[in-house]
Subunit: 227 residues, 2 copies
């Protein structure tokens, strides 16, 4: 082993390449209502999964699995689990917000041609994983990095992604037959889109507002503003 094996030059991207990366990041939207019926072929889907698989992972443990769901029966069962949970969710909000909550479309489970469940295997990499010794949640965080990679690659492919989180995890655990050492990190709906919101849908529909970035930045210590 040499001192620094396999290092290669790494320049900044060209300005056009850099702009493409920022455009994927800035124009990605969580999609619920804009999925078209156009099928996603296996080669395209594999590019997306490979993007996910290139995420950083704690100790190179790669704790993710990808369950590609094209079965109508499974999608319908997921939709039923969503609907039950969403009825519970609606009731948790103050009365004055419930009408707007009900008017929001929060999933596209039955229209997206593909659903994708991304899981985290907590046993991957063995009982002691480098970098996870003091922060056990790092395996889930690695898996979320894979999710975000996939959503950005999908944007570049013209494919919209919608993350559905309104269900009891145990319902999905049972539906997909996940072992006890594997947990659900994300259920994504995937489908080609012809249009996207030009701002987050929850902002467009008056549910929430973007926060000013400057308010979220501190210098050296919580609460301390830069000079």
């Amino acid at each position: 082993m040499t001192a620094e094996p396999l290092l290669t030059a790494a320049a900044p991207f060209s300005s056009a390449e850099r702009a493409a990366v920022y455009r994927a990041i800035e124009s990605r939207r969580d999609v619920r209502g804009q999925f078209t019926a156009r099928p996603i072929d296996d080669a395209t889907l594999l590019r997306l999964l490979s993007a996910a698989h290139h995420a950083p992972s704690v100790g190179l443990s790669q704790p993710w699995n990808f369950i590609v769901i094209r079965s109508d029966a499974v999608k319908q069962a997921a939709h039923a689990a969503f609907s039950r949970a969403n009825d519970e969710a609606r009731a948790m909000f103050p009365a004055e917000r419930r009408a707007l909550y009900s008017a929001l479309k929060l999933e596209g489970l039955l229209t997206a041609p593909v659903s994708l469940c991304i899981t985290c295997d907590h046993s991957r990499g063995g009982p002691v994983v480098l970098g996870r010794t003091h922060q056990p949640q790092m395996d889930e965080y690695s898996t979320v990095c894979a999710v975000q990679n996939l959503m950005l690659a999908a944007r570049a492919e013209g494919i919209g992604t919608g993350w559905v989180s309104i269900f009891h995890p145990a319902d999905v655990q049972t539906l997909l037959g996940l072992p006890a050492h594997v947990s659900v990190v994300a259920w994504l709906c995937l489908g080609y889109v012809d249009a996207l919101y030009d701002q987050p849908e929850l902002q467009a529909k008056g549910w929430a507002e973007r926060l000013p970035l400057a308010d979220l930045i501190f210098a050296d210590h919580w609460g301390q503003r830069a000079d």
Copy 2:
């Protein structure tokens, strides 16, 4: 409010743009030893933080804060916290792996010009957050999406990022004065790089191997292979 306000056309990216997105994803590396001393100016750092701020967040709650650390005293205290935890971590591995563990460089806290702590405020968005009603960890997952956005934007800028996870979270909580309702999601080292590993450093140095992607993909149900 119209039925579908603010939808705009969303075509796939050009092939050159798509390639740039995939290149950022595939050539990003976790950096520990390659940081140069070149400073990161405020405008560049703000582009990276804006990329993070464009991450999806549950219920548009945007639970993240960004603590930009340029203070040598804070970096040195973080390094001391790392060193204590790393001594504990090393002892958790089987004896035959400890020599290699000790030979790995696992952080660049004292050489990277900037450290960035990205936190999750569990009170952001109020007591009930849309999409978090049944999965409370969704706020942390949103924050991890912001981390991954930032790491990809940094790659495009020629800036390397290294995620340091070997410390007791309580040490960082105290060091940065985080309130109890705010938790650490990531401590990143940031600095310009001239070279990167062409494969994950832990693979290059014989600690772990990439898994074949095909082994991680199932169809419709855990354990079920596609036809």
